[in-house]
Symmetry: C2
Subunit: 210 residues, 2 copies
DNA sequence: GTCTATATGAAGATAGAC
DNA sequence: GTCTATCTTCATATAGAC
């Protein structure tokens, strides 16, 4: 494209991979898209809104990205990476299995905003596009798998009863999180989220009766 | 209400209450709106799409309803009523407390479509409008309360251990449902939903070890 | 009650100047 | 790289005839 020596541009022009937002304007566009996808979803997010929030013009946006889907892919990919990194950090950290799961469940969250990945599940245009859908499916799938490993550890070392199926329980754990967000948003209050988490932990590791 | 003998029309012209769709066309419009809200959400549903699905014209729609918000209110109210009626039927039916909760969790569901009420929680325009939001908040709040009553019953008669907090556990139960939908949609498969439910029930009523 | 015409602005982009 | 103009279609109604 640009044979001249003064363009250290990334060679990433493949159709599949999102361009890494190495440029400051491109980066602000991706960040704006992340915010808006979280707040308003894919359908509810317009190119104009993205431009305004990023402080970028029309031409600028279409220079860096082919259009809304490409921007969304960059945004979703970045968010998914962050979420996964944070989860991995907590789940592979120190502590017993139950402690780590508890730590993950109790980690600080912007409860009323909901889960930036889980919410995409409700966006029909995202789910209809295999490219946009893939990171959503992967991230939540990975999370269930990783939690299942930790729970299996806990069962193996006697923290959890043998009746606890790691895979099924992992699904329950992630579901409580995702559903907790729904309840909190419905109530306009974080309390139901906290209740749901506490309720789950009580069932998972009941208070000892000596 | 209706002094003239030839107009059996309902006197429901109050601003707050949605007109009961007594008219066949109005009814089809509400049903179409229900479907579309479920599939595409509020932002993703246009008046034109509603008209097409209902087989009604532009003028017809605006004759029966003031606009999209009024139609949405009628649709949401009807859906909320159905959901509540079904839950009440199962939760106040025969069986032990745990059996009734299990029956409610295992009831037939259109899992991949998700919860028609819970999904509205992700719609910023719905949550921003107190009138549209109210039935969502009420329905999910009622459900938690009703489940808490049943769980309290179960604890009182020894089905559940004293460590089980009815309110918290009720939040957990509803969260697992709502989150189960999210996982199923993300995976494009109902399996994670079923796993989440089974995982919860295993924790709630562990297999006896004699 | 239902239909058609008309209207305003937003959505989502392309073209080409600077 | 960024900006402004232009374009097409859609969203969401209103007006008034039938």
């Amino acid at each position: 494209m640009t044979p001249s020596p003064d363009t250290p541009a990334p060679a990433n022009t493949s159709a599949n991979a999102p361009r890494p937002a190495t440029n400051p304007t491109a980066d602000r566009l991706v960040e704006a898209t992340r915010d808006l996808l979280w707040e308003r979803g894919y359908t509810g997010t317009s190119p104009k809104a993205i431009q305004q929030r990023a402080g970028a013009g029309q031409g600028s946006m279409y220079h860096h990205f082919a259009g809304k889907p490409e921007l969304a892919l960059a945004a979703i990919t970045r968010t998914a990476g962050e979420l996964r990194g944070l989860a991995e950090e907590l789940l592979s950290g120190p502590g017993t299995a139950v402690e780590r799961v508890t730590g993950y469940l109790r980690r600080e969250r912007d409860v009323l905003r909901g889960c930036p990945i889980g919410r995409l599940t409700q966006d029909p245009d995202v789910m209809a596009d295999p490219v946009l859908r893939a990171p959503v499916e992967e991230t939540l799938g990975w999370l269930r798998g990783r939690l299942a490993e930790v729970l299996a550890e806990g069962r193996a070392n006697g923290e959890l009863p043998p009746s606890v199926d790691p895979s099924g329980t992992a699904a329950t754990v992630v579901a409580v999180l995702q559903g907790g967000y729904v309840l909190a948003r419905a109530a306009g209050d974080t309390a139901p989220f906290d209740q749901a988490i506490t309720g789950l932990l009580t069932l998972l590791a009941p208070p000892q009766q000596p």
